[in-house]
Amino acid sequence: MQSLNVDFQQNFFRLFGLSECYLLDNAQLDLQYHALQTRVHPDKFAHLPESERRLSMQWATRVNEAYQTLRRPISRARYLLSLHGVDTQEETNTAMPVDFLMAQMEWREAVEAAQQSGDIGQLEKLESRLQQEVQYLQESLAVKIDHEHSYAAAAEGVRKLKFMEKLAEEIASAYDEIDS
């Protein structure tokens, strides 16, 4: 029997036929994702034997996991680094440059102030500025990972992005609070 022996441990990038880079063509990723799900999704197997339905579930789940990991910059970076044996230590390593931490405190205070006064306009401004900051961080990550291959340095970049992600969540909560 011709066996392709697909390994479920296989690399997410390979699954989508993409090169292992931080910079990624999202449109290309989406196309590959759709092409794959079209083949493996449980809806295509609803009337087929149990053995095939089970396989379909495993595959579709795996494809979803791979897609979700690669489409978001932070999870993609984290994953790439793990492929190179580098753990981003987001939970354990909280040592950050002082100026970064100071900036974080200022951000937090600004979000809280905007929430207290119910200032949606201000929240929107903060959100927009945050998106810009995230953009800079991502560009710097791309350089560190794809060009310099300095993965340890990139790990710090990911930790910074994680802080930014938490800030984005706080802004979302602030919107929610004002809304209710």
Binding site: M1, Q2, S3, L4, N5, V6, Q10, R14, L15, F16, G17, L18, S19, E20, Q32, H34, A35, L36, Q37, T38, R39, V40, H41, P42, D43, K44, F45, A46, H47, L48, P49, E50, S51, E52, L55, S56, M57, W59, A60, T61, N64, E65, Y67, Q68, A172, Y175, D176, D179, S180
Partner: protein, 631 residues
């Protein structure tokens, strides 16, 4: 056979008859059944030409059941035994219902969890005994099933049943259990807004991001979907599974009580006024004012006039509540109002002018209403059923839906830890490792919850999963890997094994608001007029059908890929398992058939894997997975 027909567009399913499958909209107020006939999705009518079946079930003392219009006619006369809007009780406990004033039923608190009976779902005491909302819903489904089988002239292969997108696991499982009681094979539980999008999408075939605003009798959903080249992708969904047209009725009902200085009405008067409230509400859609007249059982007369304006004011916060959910969904999708290409209105309650106005104003565009808001969900479900039954796969379209609420587990200190976040595309899985607390511990209990909050008490308890059979070890030595899998129906399955020994843990599910397998079996037996004989005959036929379908599926697979992917001996092995099943199908021995089916399934496992690999590599443009290199 979807896998293979993708490479041969235009061909329909292998030469056998069209499989009979339907889409069912099990609504709070009305239910419908639809099917695809001659390539068009149509709603099936009853013998009087009516398409809507009121979701009303009446229990009589002689044990008979009335469903639909006949039951509805008696609702004011017999309010205690005429159950309306049972959907609002599916997977819900008594505490969830809150204000039972205005609900004329006799509620029964279910025995508490852990005393042998696991259900926390409320029940209703009727003249025919205590009934679960699941049984009530099953009666509605039975009627729709007969309607369909009569109209289509044969037995159904399965049905797609729709549920509100915001339904949690317990509500979904209850729906599936109702289908089981009604003898329906559920092909898929489909989210209502997604079903509506399918009905609209295939009609209009227009790419972009759409919002589906679905306000039914008892539930509200908002889904944001992206439609691109035949792919329906849900970006985010939000809603309120306890907000619908009924609540608008309730506002009017409370106003009537206040206006007429009434309080503590009996069941008949309550039902009468609620019914008046509903028709008055509908009247106010077209008219500037409406008058409520009624004579109560005590002789008091009601004669009150309500203006459209006042109704809009009193229901304002209900509409505002829906828009709050809409804003959340947009935020989760990372989108703004400007990004939405079109808004689809679904559900009878979207006929209310204040709702249409509020939605149009919010989205800054006129909502699409060209398809009947009462029928669009059933029509979409039928289209999906047609695909899932295997009738149609030439048009490659894909549905990617999401789980609406985060799944989490209880950790120390009454906190929840999210395992699968809301709006994750399904199917989805996450694994988590746990260890033992005491030396020699062989069992473990995991409490799973749904919701966004941090405290266990603020989330919805789903179930307790009890794991047994952990090899006894020193405390902390065991590595139990628990996998949480959400399937395409949005239902959770849990599996666990000890990574050191590879021992699979045995899991018992204790649903917090659901029925146990034993309870379902009991209900099945009770509902069966002819008890034992019929059950046995039915079980046998089900196995025979399953066996026939399996043989057919394997034959097709062999036709397509047998030569390319199998060695002569592997092929022989599969063929002999098939021959064995064929022979046993004739015998009428239910257990032997079951064994032979398992035998054939086992024989085709590696073949199935090879076919999947081939299909996946086609998707990646013909490169073999193992050949992929860094570009």
């Amino acid at each position: 056979m979807a896998l293979l027909q993708i490479s041969e567009p235009g061909l329909s399913a292998a030469p056998h008859q069209h499989r009979l499958a339907v889409g069912i909209d099990l609504g709070t107020t009305n239910s419908l059944v639809a099917t695809v006939r001659n390539g068009i999705s149509v709603v099936l009518n009853d013998s009087d030409g009516r398409s809507l079946l009121p979701s009303v079930v009446r229990y009589l003392s002689d044990g008979t059941v009335q469903v639909g219009t006949a039951a509805q006619k008696m609702q004011s006369e017999d309010p205690v035994n005429t159950i309306i809007s049972a959907k609002r009780f599916m997977g819900r406990g008594l505490n969830d219902i809150g204000d039972t004033v205005g609900l004329p039923y006799r509620f029964v608190e279910s025995p508490s969890h852990g005393q042998g009976k696991s259900t926390g779902m409320l029940q209703l005491r009727t003249v025919a005994g205590v009934k679960s909302p699941v049984e009530v819903s099953a009666e509605i489904l039975k009627v729709l099933r007969s309607r369909a089988e009569e109209a289509l002239g044969g037995e159904l292969v399965g049905a797609v049943i729709t549920v509100p997108a915001y339904f949690d696991d317990a509500q979904r499982q209850a729906t599936k259990d109702a289908a089981k009681l009604a003898g329906l094979n559920v092909l898929r539980l489909l989210n209502e807004p997604t079903a509506a999008a399918i009905a609209y999408g295939l009609d209009n075939a227009s790419e972009g991001v759409y919002a589906v605003y679905d306000l039914g009798g008892g539930t509200f959903d908002i889904s944001i979907l992206k439609l691109s080249k035949g792919v329906f992708e849900v970006l985010a969904t939000n809603g309120n599974s306890a907000l619908g047209g009924d609540d608008f009725d309730h506002r009017i009902y409370c106003w009537l009580l206040e206006k007429n200085n009434l309080s503590a009405l009996n069941a008949q008067d309550t039902r009468q006024l609620l019914t008046r409230a509903r028709s008055g509400k509908e009247d106010l859609t077209k008219n500037v004012e409406t008058t409520f007249t009624a004579i109560l059982t005590g002789g008091e007369t009601i004669n009150s006039t309500l203006t459209q304006h006042d109704f809009h004011v009193m229901s304002q916060n209900l509409v505002a509540n829906t828009l709050q959910s809409v804003r959340r969904a947009l935020r989760d999708a990372g989108l703004k109002v400007e990004d939405i290409k079109g808004v689809v209105m679904v559900g009878g309650s979207t006929r209310m002018p204040q709702v249409q106005h509020a939605v149009a104003e919010f989205f800054k565009q006129t909502p699409l209403t060209n398809l009947d808001p009462d029928k669009v969900v059933a029509l979409g479900a039928a289209i999906q059923a047609n695909v899932l039954a295997g009738n149609r796969s030439a048009d490659d379209w894909l549905l990617l839906d999401v789980i609406p609420l985060s799944l989490g587990i209880e950790t120390m200190g009454g906190l929840t830890e999210k395992i699968i976040p809301r709006n994750s595309t399904i199917p989805s899985a996450r694994a988590q490792e746990f260890t033992t607390f005491k030396d020699g511990q062989t069992a473990m209990s995991i409490h799973v919850l749904q919701g966004e909050r941090e405290l266990v008490s603020d989330c919805r308890s789903l179930a307790k999963f009890e794991l047994r059979g952990i090899p006894p070890m020193v405390a902390g030595a065991a590595r139990i890997r628990i996998t949480f899998q959400v399937d395409a129906d949005g239902l959770l399955n849990v599996s666990a094994y000890e990574t050191g020994s590879g021992v699979q843990a045995h899991i018992t599910v204790k649903p917090s608001y659901g029925l146990s397998d034993a309870e379902i079996t009991r209900m099945l037996q009770e509902s069966n007029q002819h008890a034992q004989d019929d059950m046995v005959a039915r079980a046998l036929r089900e196995q025979q059908v399953e066996g026939e379908q399996l043989i057919e599926a394997v034959e097709n697979a062999l036709d397509q890929d047998g030569e390319a992917l199998l060695s002569p001996s592997e092929l022989g092995h599969i063929r002999s398992a098939m021959d064995e099943l064929r022979a046993i199908l004739q015998t009428g021995n239910h257990l032997a058939i079951k064994r032979a089916i398992t035998g054939l399934n086992d024989a085709t496992v590696t073949f199935a894997q090879a076919r999947m690999d081939k299909s996946v590599s086609h998707a990646l443009g013909g490169r073999k997975i193992t050949d992929l290199e860094e570009v």
